[in-house]
Amino acid sequence: MKKVKVYVTLRESVLDPQGSAVMGALHSMNYNEVTDVRIGKFLELQIEEADRDLDTIVKEMCEKLLTNTVIEDYRYEVEEVASK
């Protein structure tokens, strides 16, 4: 069993109004060191061992459904999960 952690963020070229609002709040709280905030999504998938290559299917799932590549970028990490 594998745990796949998928991180989704808006592409650099896309304005992130939520991130901008949060940065504004942080600045008003005197955390002026913060120069950028990007808000994204975090997905955790549990995936059973199968014949299909894990990287291939994770990329497929990300590009077909989990992200919209017109506006979003993604990256993922794979962790081993002990089978019960």
């Binding site: 896309v14 304005l15 109004p17 459904l65 989990l66 017109v70 506006i71």
Partner: protein, 228 residues
């Protein structure tokens, strides 16, 4: 002319769309559940507004994989008119039938009010009953209507005259070039954030949206009379 109003779990403007076609336009219309696998009996397809699948993941992302969507793609490829309003527009971009995507409104607020729309292109089968540059009053109701596309796509939209509606005075959502609605290259798929079906009779506060549906029917009648 017979229209299909596609109903997803979470659609909430399907009744308005149905009413506009049946009662205001006097054409045939049926609700089609998202699980259906045949749209061959219909002449036009309407994707209504709402929050299909609760807008989970992204607006329109899950609906796009409904059974009926491969039929919607087929209808679009066959040249039938396909109109997506609000959530319907989001579904069409997710499905790749229209370029670009809809982002969260720039001011992060859900905007619900009537806005002025400028008819940028009245040479489409959806807008022939309007005058070019005419300003019409149509309600909006969305939190994610901020149209975005990359520079290359924008250049293509302009070159092919695919920008159909823009916000006339104030842009409520921060969309690129004030875009409110676009068509595909072929001109038979229109996506727009404002709701023409909510402006189909003066009793609703306005009837500027009715000409859009009349344009579709007029074009259909003309092309089917010519073929006969």
């Amino acid at each position: 002319m017979k229209f299909a109003v596609i109903v997803f779990p979470g659609s909430n403007c399907d009744l308005d769309m149905y009413h506009a076609i049946k009662d205001e336009l006097g054409e045939e219309v049926e609700y089609v559940w998202h699980d259906e696998t045949d749209l061959s009996g219909f002449d036009g397809v309407l994707l209504p507004g709402g929050f299909s699948y609760g807008d989970y993941l992204r607006c329109g992302a899950i609906s796009r994989f409904s059974n009926v969507m491969s039929e919607v793609v087929k209808a679009a490829e066959a040249g039938k008119p396909v109109l997506g309003v609000c959530n319907g527009f989001q579904v069409l971009t997710e499905a790749g039938l229209l370029p670009g995507a809809l982002l969260r409104n720039k001011n992060l607020k859900f905007m619900c009010r009537t806005v002025g729309l400028k008819v940028e292109n009245n040479e489409t089968q959806f807008t022939s009953d309007y005058a070019k540059d005419e300003v019409i009053q149509i309600p909006i109701a969305h939190g994610e209507g901020n149209y975005y596309c990359d520079e290359e796509t924008l250049a293509n939209l302009k070159a092919n005259n695919q920008i159909v509606f823009t916000y006339a005075s104030e842009n409520p959502n921060g969309s690129i070039e004030d875009i409110a609605g676009i068509v595909n290259e072929r001109g038979n798929v229109l996506g727009m954030m404002p709701h023409p079906e909510r402006a189909a009779n003066d009793i609703m506060g306005g009837s500027d949206g009715l000409a859009l549906f009349k344009s579709i029917v007029k074009h259909w009648r003309e092309s089917h009379v010519n073929q006969a």
